[in-house]
Amino acid sequence: MELIDRYFALVGFGETGWGALLLSASAMTLAVSVCGFLTGTVLGSIVTFMKLSRYLVLRWLADGYTTVLRGVPDLLVIYLFYFGGSAFLGSIGGLFGYEGFIGMPAFLTGTLALGVVSAAYQSEVFRGAFKSVAGGELEAASAVGMRPWPKFRRIVAPLVLRYAIPGLGNTWQLVLKESALISITGLVELLRQSQIAAGSTRRPFEFYLTAIVLYLVITWASSIAFRHLEARTMRGTRRSL
C-alpha cells in the first residue's frame, strides 16, 4: 500500500508529482507524431505517383527510396537530419558571415525524420490500395468524361483512402513508437521527459514504466480510432470476408 502511495506521489499531480509534465510530454509525442505522419502522407503520395508513373526512371527512383528507407535503421535517419541539418544551416549561416554553430530545431528534425521514414511505408500502403481500386471504376469515370484532376479528386482519392486505412493505421503506430527515438535530439517528448524525471528523482523504474503505460494508452486509443474510421469508410460496401 505504501509502495503504491509513493508511486502516485511520484507520477501524480501533487506538489512533488511529475504528472503534469508527463502529460504535456505525451502531448508533445502526439504533436511530433502527427506532424511526422502528415509529412509522410504528402511525401508518400508523391512517391506513390512516381511508383505508378509510366517513366521507368521515376519508378526506379521511387523503388530505390522505399528500399533504402525501409532497410536502414531509423536512428541513422535521425542522425542524418539532426547533424546534417545543423551542418546545412551552418553553411547557410556562413554565407551571411555567421561562423557559429546553428543547431537544427529538434521538433523540425523529428518531423522531417519521421516524415521521410513513414513516407516509404505509406507509399507502399497507397500503392497497394490503388491496385485494389477496381479498374472498372476508373474506366467509368473516364467514360462519363471526367478529366484527370476531377477523376483523381472524386474517384481515385476517396477509393484509395478507403482501402488504405488499415495500412495507414499500422504506419501510424510505427510512427508513434518511432517518435521515442527523437528523444536523442533533446526534444522533450514522453521518453525524454521520463529520462529527466528519472535522473532527478533517481527512480528510473517508476518513470519508464509510466512512460510505457502512457504509450500503451496512446496506441490503444488510436487503434480504436482507426477501427471506427475503417468501419465508417467501409459503410456501403459489401465484403466477402
Binding site: L75, L76, G84, K177, P204, A211, L216
Partner: protein, 234 residues
C-alpha cells in the same frame, strides 16, 4: 563527397558489423524460442494462456522498444541489492545483455503473432488426414502441424528478422558500439552526416539483402512440392 573519408568510415564501421550480427542472431534465436512457447500457449493453453499471450503481445507491441530497453537497463538498476542477492546482477549490469533481453522480449511478441498465424493456417483437412492415418498428439504436431505452419509463417518471419536487424541499432543508445553507435560517434566527431549515413546505410542494406536471399533459399528448400518435377509415365 570525399572518397578517402568514406573509405576510412567504411573500415571503421566494418568493425561494428560482428556486434550487430551477434545482437541480432542471439535475440532472434532466443526470441524465436520464447515466441514458440507463447504461441503454443495461445493456441492450446486455454483461456489463461490465451489471455497471458494477448496481454504480453499488447504490451510489447504497443510501446517503443527504446523505452523497454531503458526500463531494463536503467530501471532494473534500482533493484540492485535484490538482484545481487538472487545473482542476476552480473547479467543486468552489462548493457550488452540488457539490449539482448529487451530485443528478445520485443521480438518474441511480434514473432509469436507470426507463429500463431502460421499454426492457425494449418487446415483442418490436413489434420484430419493425419488423424485418419493414426497420428495424434506430439507425433501429429511434429510431422504435420509444425512443418506446414513454418512454411506458412516464413515470409512474415523474414520481415521480422530484417526489422530486428534494424532494431539492434537502438542498442547504441545504451552505449553499445555496433554499426549505428560507431556511425553516430563518427558523425558527431566529423559533422559529415551525409557521407557517414551513406556508408552505414550501404552496410545495412548489404546485410538486409543477404538475409532476404537466405530467406528465399530456405523458402525454396521448405516447399519442395511446389517445384517438383511432374511425374512422367515412362
Amino acid at each position: 563527397m570525399d572518397i578517402q573519408f568514406m573509405w576510412e568510415t567504411f573500415l571503421i564501421l566494418l568493425t561494428g558489423v560482428p556486434l550487430t550480427l551477434e545482437l541480432a542472431v542471439t535475440s532472434i534465436f532466443a526470441g524465436g524460442l520464447f515466441a514458440l512457447v507463447l504461441s503454443l500457449l495461445a493456441v492450446v493453453g486455454g483461456p489463461i494462456g490465451h489471455g497471458f499471450t494477448r496481454g504480453y503481445v499488447f504490451v510489447f507491441r504497443g510501446s517503443p522498444l527504446l523505452v523497454q530497453m531503458f526500463l531494463i537497463y536503467y530501471g532494473l538498476g534500482q533493484f540492485r541489492p535484490f538482484l545481487q542477492d538472487i545473482g542476476f546482477w552480473p547479467i543486468l549490469r552489462e548493457p550488452y545483455w540488457c539490449a539482448v533481453i529487451a530485443l528478445t522480449l520485443n521480438t518474441a511478441a511480434y514473432t509469436s503473432e507470426i507463429f500463431r498465424g502460421g499454426l492457425q493456417a494449418v487446415s483442418v483437412q490436413q489434420i484430419e488426414a493425419a488423424r485418419a492415418c493414426g497420428m495424434s498428439g506430439p507425433l501429429l504436431f511434429r510431422r504435420i502441424v509444425l512443418p506446414i505452419a513454418i512454411r506458412h509463417a516464413l515470409p512474415a518471419y523474414g520481415n521480422e528478422v530484417i526489422l530486428m536487424l534494424k532494431a539492434t541499432a537502438l542498442a547504441s543508445v545504451i552505449t553499445i558500439m555496433e554499426i549505428t553507435g560507431l556511425a553516430g560517434k563518427l558523425i558527431a566527431d566529423s559533422f559529415r552526416a551525409f557521407e557517414v549515413f551513406i556508408v552505414a546505410g550501404a552496410i545495412y542494406l548489404a546485410i538486409t539483402f543477404l538475409v532476404t536471399r537466405l530467406m528465399m533459399i530456405v523458402e525454396f528448400w521448405l516447399s519442395p512440392h511446389l517445384h517438383m518435377r511432374p511425374p512422367t509415365l515412362a
